[in-house]
Every structure is written in structure tokens, then in C-alpha cells.
Symmetry: C2
Subunit: 153 residues, 2 copies
DNA sequence: CACACATATTTCGTGTTGAAAATATTCGCA
DNA sequence: TGCGAATATTTTCAACACGAAATATGTGTG
């Protein structure tokens, strides 16, 4: 199997494992992986607008809108409209949201985290480097493709 | 940012780039990334049942059923029921499917592929190793979680 | 043979995802 | 002031993904 096929296969395995974990989270916390990610991002940023959450999570605004809808339905966050800019919606954690985060759910398997941290520091760095390089190469490829369809300004 | 957060962030960036590319494919070939993957898998295996395609692609059978539905709608594959086992459905490439594959669509960005292949062989190996290790660690973590919820037989 | 069990696929329900379009609001400029 | 451009969010739409349940078929045992 060549490099391309191996990478593709590994990426599919990663996606699959992530998805399976997301459904396990749903059973345990009534919350999926992306919902946990956004909830944590809200906690990190504090009263953040949708757009900021989307950017920080590498998701589109419509996606985050849907996730926030479901978090709001469970009253883990609330939408706040301020008078400074009435287009913006700020997402705030509720008390229930804080309680849930205190249970420390993670979008990644606890077992994965353990194994990763058990590796020597150099190994950990190698892995992070590799993931980062793959991400960067893909993003660069995407931006090039974008430009080639709009050759001149 | 710690190792965990960096990995998570890189994985989300990879997922996002992959998804964006899938939509670009749709414009160019009227086919998404997963559809291309399955079409290629059909070409590789030749008259494969749904289950075999699902396993090879790390997808669930219901997911592949949907993808095959859409490929069939475009007449790129056809479902064949044999008399040996009438539960099974074998998926076969049509002439149109072969023609489309001849245009060499890829579920990964062409630009990404180029960059990957331009790297020194050792770098390529590092990246494949890292991706494979992440996948393996996640799958192992998932299988452990599975077992802990069914402690005894 | 009949009935329980196993296997292959599909259907259904819910959640995730992004592009395009719709909506609401703000900003810049004449 | 007024009006067009820019910005923030939501809606709509199609695809993807999985688990559970439904359906159809095959297998094995009494």
C-alpha cells in the first residue's frame, strides 16, 4: 500500500473511532463530541459570538448554530443579544452547563489520552508534528484550489 | 497548548479540509469524497457485497447503503442479486463508473498528494506512522471502553 | 419438517457538516 | 439623512454517519 492509501485509510479509521466515541458520549452525558467541543469552547472564551466559536473550532457558522440549538434545548447554554450590536448573539454557559463540564467529558477517548501521555515526550512531539503537517498541507492545497478558480483580482 | 489540545485541533482541521474538498469534488465530478472512495473500492474488489465495502472503508453498512443508492442513481454502479445467497447484494461498476474513474478523482486534494510525495521518504514514513499510531490508539481505547461496559461473560 | 438463531441489507431517527440564500443589523459615504 | 455594502446569524438543502429495528434469507438442531 502506498503512502497516499495508507494516510487515507488511517484518516478514515480516526474519523470512525471519533464518531463511535461521540455516540458513547451521547449515552453517558446526553451530549455528542462536537457538542462537548463547543461547550468547552464557550467555557474557554466566555460569552462568545457564534462566529468566534466556529472559527476556533474549524467549523462553519451554520454547523455551530445547530449545535448551539441543541445545547440550548438542554439549557446548557443560553443566547444573549446585547445592545452594542444586535446582529451578534453571545453564547453563555448556564449553571447546568458548568455542572456538566465539571464532570470533565472529552471529545477524545480517555483511553486515547492516557496512551498518548504515556509515550515519551519525543514521540508525542512527532505525532503532533505529523498531524499538524497533514492539516497544514491540506489547508494549503485547499487554498490553492480556491485561488486557481479565481485567477485574477 | 498541550499535546491533547494540539492533536484535537489538528484533527478538526483535517476533517474540515477533507469536507471542503468533498464539496469541491461534487462540483467537478458530481461525486462526493465518500462516493469516490466507495467507487474506487468497488473497482478494487470487483462485484463486492455491501458488507465487504463497509469493512474495507471503515464505515457502517447503513452508510454504504446510502452511498451506493446515490451512485446507483447516477448509474455508476449497479446492484446484482445472485442465486447463491439471495440476502447478498453485489455491487458492480458500470461502463459509466469506469469512465468516471478513468478521470482519476481522489478523495484527497491533488495538492495534498503532491506535497506529501515531494517530502523525503523518511518524512513520509513518519507521517504514515504517526497517523497509524493515532488510529490504533483510538481503536484500542474504543475497544477497551466497549469491554468495560460488559465486564463478565 | 419446524423453529430458533445467525447473517445481509435496508429503513428510520438523530446529529453533523458546509454552501447558498434569506434575514437582520451596522457602517461608510455622498 | 439615506442608501448600498459589509457583517452576523439563521434557514434551507443535500450528503454523511451510526445504532436500533425491520426485513429477508440462510443454517442448524431437535
Amino acid at each position: 500500500m502506498n503512502v497516499e492509501e495508507m494516510s487515507l485509510s488511517a484518516l478514515r479509521r480516526i474519523t470512525h473511532a471519533t464518531d463511535v466515541h461521540s455516540r458513547a458520549l451521547l449515552r453517558e452525558y446526553q451530549l455528542t463530541g462536537p457538542q462537548v467541543s463547543i461547550l468547552k469552547e464557550v467555557a474557554r472564551q466566555g460569552e462568545a459570538p457564534i462566529g468566534a466559536l466556529a472559527k476556533a473550532s474549524y467549523l462553519g457558522a451554520p454547523t455551530v448554530t445547530g449545535i448551539v440549538d441543541r445545547l440550548e434545548r438542554q439549557e446548557l447554554v443560553s443566547r444573549i443579544r446585547t445592545d452594542v450590536d444586535r446582529r451578534q448573539v453571545r453564547i453563555a454557559l448556564t449553571a447546568a452547563g458548568k455542572r456538566l463540564l465539571a464532570r470533565d467529558p472529552s471529545p477524545l477517548h480517555a483511553g486515547f489520552r492516557e496512551q498518548l501521555l504515556k509515550l515519551p515526550k519525543t514521540e508525542q512531539r512527532h505525532i503532533c508534528d505529523a498531524l499538524d503537517r497533514v492539516a497544514t498541507m491540506m489547508e494549503f492545497a485547499a487554498s490553492e484550489a480556491q485561488q486557481s478558480s479565481t485567477p485574477r483580482t
